[in-house]
Structure formats: C-alpha cells, structure tokens
C-alpha cells in the first residue's frame, strides 16, 4: 500500500485560478507569485508545492493553528506566523524553509513524539494515520529527545465494533473533534481538561455508543497518528498480502460517495472515504464506512430459493425461480388489477437497474406505483 497522500495535497495547477477573482502578488521564497483574495499563506504555499508540514490541518476544516509546524517567516513580523491561519496580503515577503524554521519544526516533532508511546502504526488504522511518522522521517527527528510524561490515555474499554480509541497515540490536534462538529455536525466528542492533561472526551466521559456519535468514522480517517483507528480494518493486521486500494462509489444510497476499497489478495479488509470524492469530500456514514462484512459472508445467497409444498425453502435454478415470480405477478394482476403492484428499487442497485425496474413496472403493468429507498 502506498503511503496515504497527505490530505491537503490537492493536485492543482499552480497557475489555475478561480474565475473572476483579482490576482494579487506576494514574494514566496524570493519568487514573486500570484494569489487570490481570501487565500491563506499556507494555501498559496501549497499551490506552489512548498510542502509546508502540518499535523492539525485538514483542508475541509476551519484553520486552527495548533501544531505550529506550518510556521513561516514573514518579513516585518517579530515571530514566525502560522501560515494556515494567516491571510495572504499583497506585498508580503515570506520564507517557508529557513534553517531556523526547519529547526523549530524538527524540535516540535521531537516534542510531539515524546508525548506518545510510539509512532509506528499500521496503515490499516486509517487514511491519515501515517502523517506523523512520515514527517518524523522527513525531518530526521530524534525520537528519544525530551523524554517525560506521556499525555493521552487510551480508552480500550470502549468496546464498540468500529472505532478504537487509542489515545496513548493522541497528539491533541483536535482534528477529530473539529471534523465531528464541522463536517458531520454530531458534536459527539469534545476536549476535556487543559494543557498536557487534555483528553478527547464524550459527554460525561462515556462510551461512544452512549453519545451523539453516529459512527461515521470521519474522526478515524482524519487522525494523523492512528490514535483513532478502524477496528474492522485492524482485523487484517498482520495478515499476509499487500494492501491495494480501488476507487469506486459506495453502493448504499443515492448520494454517490467515493470510496477506496482496501483489499488484501482477494479479501476486502477496509473501506476508506475518498478525500477528493466530489459528493462526500472524505465523509461517509456508518454503513458506507463499516458495513461491508456481507461481501464475504458465508451466509450470502448464491442460488435462488423457492418455498415448496413442505413450507421450506429449497435451492432452485434461475429459470424456475423467475417463472415462479412471473406467475405470481400475473396472478396478482389478473385478480386485483394493475395498481396491485408496487415496486421499490434498492438504493444499492445501480442507476441502470433502477431504470429497468421502473420501465418494467410502467410498461409491463401499466402503473406508476414505483419508488426508491434512497428517496427517504
């Protein structure tokens, strides 16, 4: 499995610009570059491939300014400024990578590493789970420096089947809290305590299932350290076989969320939301995120079943089963008229199947009694 792309790496063209906006200029690492009113320094720098490091940043969320890794030198400012929360202004002169700035970033990473029990985590934990370890490698940060107390406190007792709350690896970036509030609107988790004692909590510090959590899994996928992890995916931890991702559309409803199916050999081991999915922008619901066990369930029907005279279901061939269904429909039509039939297409069926169903009901039976479960 290739390391997950950092969330903010939008593959945009540095020269592309939103239409109808005035083009302004500033100096970025000695080069005059253009930007648009309302952009932050970070956004400008990213568009120009400056690879400014971040840990608390998620492009879908309001800039927060916690990790301070994205600090840059701004001419005239006494201290470096956080590029994610600072609006670009015409005439600014910015340096993104001075030796002093890079040293601060390294020290910050060493501080973050020191508060945790380890930074190497299985990529199965979540989409963004490798962000911290990737940055630590990139900066050659010393993982043994600044030793002392550890900050987070895992809640393994929260035995829900979906989300592992391994806060020993938490770095208090609050991406989970913010994505829950800003993207999902659940406000299920929040911040308790302060300073080094800060913990992610639910109402009254209870279990997720007793909170407003809908198990959409967005907190898991935005976590940059794997402190929140996909329990279903972790069932495949340590198994043989390379992980592969295949982009597709979630089949549960009509929204059309883009997902990456994570497979290992011929097994589906996880579903991850596509951060660049036009309909979902990284969001999923509990079903799209976690309800995929049916795919490989041994109880799945592989042949049609017909209830015989003995009252029991028996395996049958397709031809017989379809004939039996057709007979039933025709009987209903004869005895009770065309409006006795009502068809509901499954939200998990593709558009073509939904089209075929309504065509069949309308022209075959002469009724408009049709619906689709995604309508609700």
């Amino acid at each position: 499995m290739t390391p997950p792309t950092h969330l903010q790496n939008k593959q945009s063209d540095p020269d592309s610009k939103p239409q109808g906006q005035e083009t302004l200029t500033l100096t970025l690492d000695g080069e005059e570059v253009t930007f648009f009113a309302g952009e932050t320094i970070y956004e400008v720098a990213e568009r120009h491939r400056k690879e400014v490091p971040t840990l608390c940043y998620d492009p879908r969320l309001e800039p927060f300014g916690a990790c301070r890794l994205c600090v840059v030198e701004l001419e005239g400012a006494r201290n470096p400024v956080a590029s994610c929360t600072t609006q670009a202004q015409p005439g600014m002169s910015i340096k993104t990578k001075t030796p002093a700035i890079e040293e601060h970033r390294k020290v910050l990473l060493e501080m973050v590493v020191s508060e945790n029990d380890g930074i190497e985590v299985d990529p199965l934990r979540g989409y963004a789970s490798q962000e911290l370890s990737t940055l630590v490698d990139r900066y050659g940060a010393d993982t043994g420096r600044f030793q002392g107390a550890q900050s987070g406190c895992s809640k393994f007792e929260d035995d829900n089947p979906f989300i592992l709350r391994d806060y020993n690896k938490c770095i208090s970036c609050y991406r989970c809290v913010r994505v829950c509030a800003e993207q999902e609107g659940d406000y299920a988790i929040s911040i308790k305590g302060r300073g080094f004692e800060t913990q992610i909590t639910t109402e009254f510090d209870g279990l997720l299932k007793d909170s407003a959590c809908t198990f959409c899994g967005q907190c898991v996928q935005t976590c940059p350290t794997g402190a929140l992890a996909d329990r279903k995916a972790l069932r495949a931890e340590g198994q043989d076989g390379e992980l592969q991702k295949t982009r597709t559309i979630c089949t549960y409803c009509g929204v059309g969320c883009s997902v990456d199916l994570v497979t290992q050999e011929d097994r589906l081991v996880a579903v991850q939301p596509a951060m660049d999915g036009p309909a979902n922008e990284g969001a999923l619901c509990v079903k799209g995120q976690f309800a995929f066990d049916f795919v490989q369930n041994p109880d799945r029907l592989k042949k049609p079943l017909i209830r015989r005279e003995d009252g029991e279901l028996h395996e049958a061939e397709w031809e017989e089963a379809l004939q039996r269904a057709a007979d039933g429909f025709l009987k209903a039509l004869d005895e009770h008229g065309r409006h006795s039939v009502y068809a509901i297409a499954s939200g998990r069926a593709p558009s073509e199947a939904a089209y075929t169903l309504q065509k069949w009901i309308r022209s075959g039976f002469g009724t408009n009694y049709i619906d689709n479960c995604s309508r609700a």
Partner: protein, 557 residues
Amino acid sequence: MRSLTDDEILESLRGEPAPLLPILHAFHDRDGYLSPEALKVISKGLRIPIADLYGTIDFYHHFSTGEGGHHQARVCTGPICCLKEGNQILEALRSQGATPMPCAGRCDDPVVVLKGNQALLGTSAENLQPRRSPLPPEAPTLEGFEECVFAHIRSPERSQFAGYRSTGGYNALEKACSQLSQEDLLSQVEASGLAGRGGAGFPTGSKWRAVFNAPGDPKSIVCNADEGEPGCFKDRALLDHDPHAVIEGMALAAYATGAERGFIYLRYEYPETYAILEQAINDAESNGFLGENILGKFNFKLYLRRGAGAYICGEEGSLLNSLEGKHPFPRNRPPFPVTHGFEDLPTVVNNVETLASVPPIVLKGADWYQCLGHDQNAGTKVISLSGDVNKPGNYEIPIGFPLMHLIQDWAGGTPSGKRVQAVTMAGLSGGFLAGEDLDVTLDEPCIRSKGSFLGAGGIMVFDETRDMVEIAHQAMEFFAEESCGKCFPCRIGTRRLSERLGGHAGPGELTQWLNEVEALGQTMKATSSCGLGIAAPLISDSLVKYFPEQVENHVKS
C-alpha cells in the same frame, strides 16, 4: 429564601448576552456542584452540545462536578503563599477535601483559602477569617509624585456611590457628555499616551478609535478583570476600593466608541469584589450613569460576569470565547477584537487599571497625564509588590521609576535586611531579574533591554535565602497547569520544562540538560500561538542566565 428552579434560572438569564457563565454559577451556587442533570438542562436551554459543555466546564479550575465540591476549601499555593504557610494550611485541611489552587491574587495578605463564595485569610488552618483587601500603602509624600488611579482610593467611602460622587466621581463623564464630542474624547485619550496596563501596552486611544471606526453593531466594552497572573493583585485593589472609577472609565469608552453593552469579566477568586461590583453597577444605573439615555447622550448596559478559574482567560481571545460560552482557547489573530471581538463585533478589551486611568485624564487633561511619568515616560503604573519585602502592596509609581528605590525605600527593603537575590517581572511571565540587572527603571524599554518585560506590573521579591530552582519549578508548573492545550509548543513545552526544573525527567548530564531546555525555550518563544507559551521560557532562560551554579547543583543531584 426559596432557591430558584432550573427554569427560573434559565429564564432569568437566557435573554442576556453572554449567559452561559452566570447560568453555570447559578446552578453551581444552588446545588453545590454542577450535576449531570444540571448540565443536561443547561445544554438544552442554551442549545450547547452536551459534549462541548461537559468538556468546557472541565477546563475551569473551580467548577466542581462532585457533590459538595463547591464548598470544599481551595488553598492558595501560589509562589508567595508557598513562601508563607500555604502548604501547611493545605495539608491541615486536606482531610476535609481541600485542594490547592494557583495564586489567588492576595499576595499582600496572609494565605488565602476559598470556601464556596468566601475568601478566608490566615496564617494557619485555625485562624482563617474573612477580611477586606488592604488599601494601597501610602507612597512617601516627600518625593512629590502624583498618583493617578490611586489619588482618591484612600478616601473614606470612595467605594460607595455617594463617596465616589463627593470626591469628584462621574464628573469626567458629565464633562464628556456636556463638553466633548466623541472625536474630542478619542483625541484626548490618544494624546495622553495612555497604553494598556494589563501588560500588552497597546495605545488605548488607538484601540478606541479602531472600534469607533469599525463597522458592525452593537459594539462592546469589555473590562478584563481576570487578573490571573501570579503576583498581580492591583485590579483587585482598584475594584474593591474604587469600583466606580472603573465603571466610569467603561462608560467613557462606551461614549467614545458608540458601544452599547459592556462586560466586566472578573476572576473567580474575588468573590467579595463581585459583590462590591454588583452593588456599584446597580447604584450607577439607578443614578443614571449606566443604562438608558445616560446624561441625555447615550445608552450603555453593563453586565458583570464571573470567570471560573483559568489563567488563560486573561488572554483577550480566550476571555471573549469564555464570555461567549465557547471553549476558552485563545483566538487566532488577526482579526483582532477591535473588529471581531465579542460575538465577532467590534469590541474594546481594556484592563481595569487602564479604564480607571481614563476619568482623571478626561478631567485633568492629556498633558497632565503625560507629565506624571519619570523623564520621557507617560503616566503611571501600579506595581504589585510582594514576597520578601517589609511592606508588600500596590504602589502607583511614575513610569521610569527605579526598581530598587521602590523595593528599598518605598517598601522598606527585605525583612531583616537580607540581600535581594532576584525579582520576577510581569508576575511570572517576565522571568527573573537578578544581579546587576536589578538596577533597572520600571518602564518597558529598560526592562525589555534585559530580556524581560514589565507586563501587568507584578513584582515578586526573593531574598538570598531562597532556592531559585525550586521557585522556577513552581513557576513553570503553574504555566504547565494553566496552558490551555491548544498549541503544541506550549502544551508540551511547559510540561517538559517543568519536569526538568523539578528533576522528574530529562538528562542527568548538564550540557545535555541545558541543550534540551534551551531548544524547548527557543521553539516555544518562536512558535507558540499566544503570550503564555512565548513568555513561559523566560523563567528557565533567566534562571540559567543568572543562577548557573544553582542549576548545575540541581542537575547533578
């Protein structure tokens, strides 16, 4: 008296701006703690997600979630109370559920213990008594310096409305409303050179003008009375003994800027001050100096809000978030409160002392105020002096006044004449000054040239018998406990520095120890998002600078 029902509490406060804190306090006072049921009622009533509310009340030191918690003693273990009997009193009361609290702003008094809404003072667990906070000591009259905010504070009854009126109170507001346009008032405050006395030193007139010019209504005036810096207790003296001066300053700010509502955000640890202010606001309102149609000119409704124990709420962004009922993290700047303050509308946030300085400036003129300072410095500054001095207290000095003159001649020097080993600046935030650097004048340019800053003017004095590493450790532990937890360098850095100063973790070899402490400090100073993380390393830096031998002994042991 029958206690209020849940609905009565909610109904009485829900319509006011900034309702969360007073509602929480009403339940806390009524029930003796914040029960889960109370939180659910408040969450529903104010439409705040219950997880957010639960997390946010936990941020504050003084909200109890255990039954009876509100009435359990909290004993001050701030730097000065630790030099006195703070720890002994805490131990004596621990079996009754007492817990430590950070500096509660009575460093010129015996040790302070909070029980419910009462502050008790004493030298042992047996002699704790309520007592009024001390008046500022008289400055030596021979030297001929004129005071500004303390000029009338020792007049009898000055804290009452009648006493304030009879000593020239509200004359400035009457003068402004009858003789000065908004522009006149703004110009006068600008010309006076008055700058923020909470520590940041931003020119007050410029701030007011920015709010006057900013679009958006209603505008607000916020008085920052969340005096949480250890060793600072000047705002308490002003509010206890001259509350109307601050109210009049706020009304003048409202008149100048067009603000219609105001808030005094008072720290939790001053319950008696809360009662004094409540009375003063009522009296000012019933006499027409607050409320509707003040002196025929403007409307200004003033609300009193009580914090709940969080040092960071003295930072204006945190304070505004706290007022709004949000998690009290600092805000990213820009935008600044002058355009995006309370409820994202233009807001003046001024310190108590700044606001109290305004009425005398309006009455006596900008030039008069300018000339109060020493040499080229404008105005006065209240210094809260505590620790190893014979006469601790609040002294209003001309800006530019020599530090050692204040300590030796005004405050009577150290008890038994011991040598001054070090002082802190800006409470704790400015770190230590020691040795030759004690020979400074009390103005920002001079103090900053030594790598420190004057800030809110808290100065703690430590004589030669004190263990400076231990004092530095206590200071850093304070910052670690009060760090809000938002930005990484402060959240982690304060903890790591405290561990190293306390000997709980870190290298045992001196060069490595110094290397780590310096690296942490440099990155904290450069990258922290607010003043707490930027200032905290001044403690460790100045310790290493002035006391290398004590540091070496500490690391070796």
